[in-house]
Symmetry: C3
Subunit: 249 residues, 3 copies
Amino acid sequence: MLLLMTDYGWQDPYVGQVKAVLATHAPGVAVIDLLHAVPDFNPHAGAHLLAALCRDLPAGAVVLAVVDPGVGGPRAAVVVEADGRFFVGPDNGLLSVLAGRAQAARIWRIDWRPQPCSDSFHGRDLFAPIAGWIAAGDFPADKHTPVAELEVRFDTAELPRILYIDHYGNAWSGIRGGIAEPGSNVEVKGHVLPWRRVFVEAGKGEAFWHVNSSGLIEIAVNRGSAAEKLGLKVGDPVRLQGAPETQVH
Amino acid sequence: MLLLMTDYGWQDPYVGQVKAVLATHAPGVAVIDLLHAVPDFNPHAGAHLLAALCRDLPAGAVVLAVVDPGVGGPRAAVVVEADGRFFVGPDNGLLSVLAGRAQAARIWRIDWRPQPCSDSFHGRDLFAPIAGWIAAGDFPADKHTPVAELEVRFDTAELPRILYIDHYGNAWSGIRGGIAEPGSNVEVKGHVLPWRRVFVEAGKGEAFWHVNSSGLIEIAVNRGSAAEKLGLKVGDPVRLQGAPETQVH
Amino acid sequence: MLLLMTDYGWQDPYVGQVKAVLATHAPGVAVIDLLHAVPDFNPHAGAHLLAALCRDLPAGAVVLAVVDPGVGGPRAAVVVEADGRFFVGPDNGLLSVLAGRAQAARIWRIDWRPQPCSDSFHGRDLFAPIAGWIAAGDFPADKHTPVAELEVRFDTAELPRILYIDHYGNAWSGIRGGIAEPGSNVEVKGHVLPWRRVFVEAGKGEAFWHVNSSGLIEIAVNRGSAAEKLGLKVGDPVRLQGAPETQVH
């Protein structure tokens, strides 16, 4: 199973061009679009989204993750094996949260460069062949160098900000639900919001927080858009009342 | 063949998370995105869209259909076999139009719940495993109870409203074309529109109605947007002149 | 490998309906969405995009290409084999740029019509079965007539206009990079833009041109939207300074 997480968007040809390479290198392997709407040029939000979205992937899954504003510059390319799953992408922090949270992680720097290789599309030209080979069961040892650490590493603790706003208007934070008390409140943009276990327990149009299906604290409105009602955007601070320690960054 | 029809939208990770489960339960089965833009929280429009979109599916096809504002509440989960095709989704009316129109239908209530099961994403946690098992040829009889009827049923007659507006601006109604006379007119938002067999028979910029490729009466403009030109939105009433009986709801 | 390039958009059911037909005719063949955001009703831009996007496809690849405002009218349907790759679509110029640039091309007119066949969706009813059969290795010779030329042919030289704007706001022109000197400037909408090899060589917010990953001259802004900053839209003229001959159309 090959999964893609990028900021390439849906409407452009970039995802399809990556898939044409994957189909050549890993024929017969299912390729799944996990997310192509990571906030543009934002590996920090991407790193927390990736960690949340991939926590339940089966062993052997391969993830091609690209949010890469530094493409064409000196940043390295890497493969991370984290608890049996493989991640291929730029060494700009994007893979660092999941690597730091893994029980067991191994890291390789990708030294190989294809000929030709574009300056602006390493997702297609560099990361896709590597991911395809790994997914096809052929880890290309001659193209990698084991390294002890990623060069760019983000804090693996909670990121108390809005990471992502979905098309319903639900706002995902970077705070995992496990640290929150069901009865407590969440503050965002001056609003203090109560907890509801599930949408249908909130009144129609009521804003609340809950632990979403990817394990993150999410701000939502029953049958409405929390982003619109509360004026939320990616990057806005989120504060969990009663858990101040985890909020300091 | 596994098909998905939801209101999950394209840009969010929800579709990919469903597909990761399907790839685990039904490896090698083609998974096809039929529609993820069912009007949000609107099982009624969704029920008529589903019936229209699935009329030509081959026997054995499995459809995962989710428009589920009541997720986490008491609504049941069901499987419908309609003329040899299988539909998995919530018992909130979404599957009722196609079930009511089928020549032969069987219904099962899904009693099984996975552990763990999120409160807000039954598409991934409950419906996807069931749909995957069925698509893989393994109908999980121990997880279902045959029932005589769906709990929530919409009228299976025509729905004389705008159901869906596509990206060109064509507006799909819930009225099937079979009941319309080619020479007659259609009224919408105070406009009386003539019939044209096909786009190129209309003048450039002319508004007209035709029977679209899913068998529904559609309001269109040649090389333009009917929604913009006529101010149409989902839910607007559509009236077929000369067929008053079918218009009363 | 089957690839799709259309103006069907992402959110509508059209792509999924095409894929359901392909899955029936070519089970097990990977189907890849290359682009569904060709500017609506614009086979001319589509022809140059198709030629650029398909230049690196492996032999044997089959492309279903549909931008078809004349559907239901007298335009013919064709198959083009260009340098070992197959293209199926309308004979309205869409396939003519890649055919004209190919070292070896063969053309067939599709005489067959399925029963039933919708008047408005030949992508699903006519082109998809043909493309599926070819991808499955069964070229349906009884359904085609070899012809010497396409009926509608666009100039195969550079198209010095904006063809496409991606979701980052990068603007693709129809001018191939091979004819441009790295040191020269590009003019668009009264702006004179310098060349940068790669995004990170431009200042943050600086507008520049480069040869993009599909081989075309692209107007871009480092970590910003060129379309927004420079007010670009599809169709705007682009002029390469120092190469006036190629600009006259």
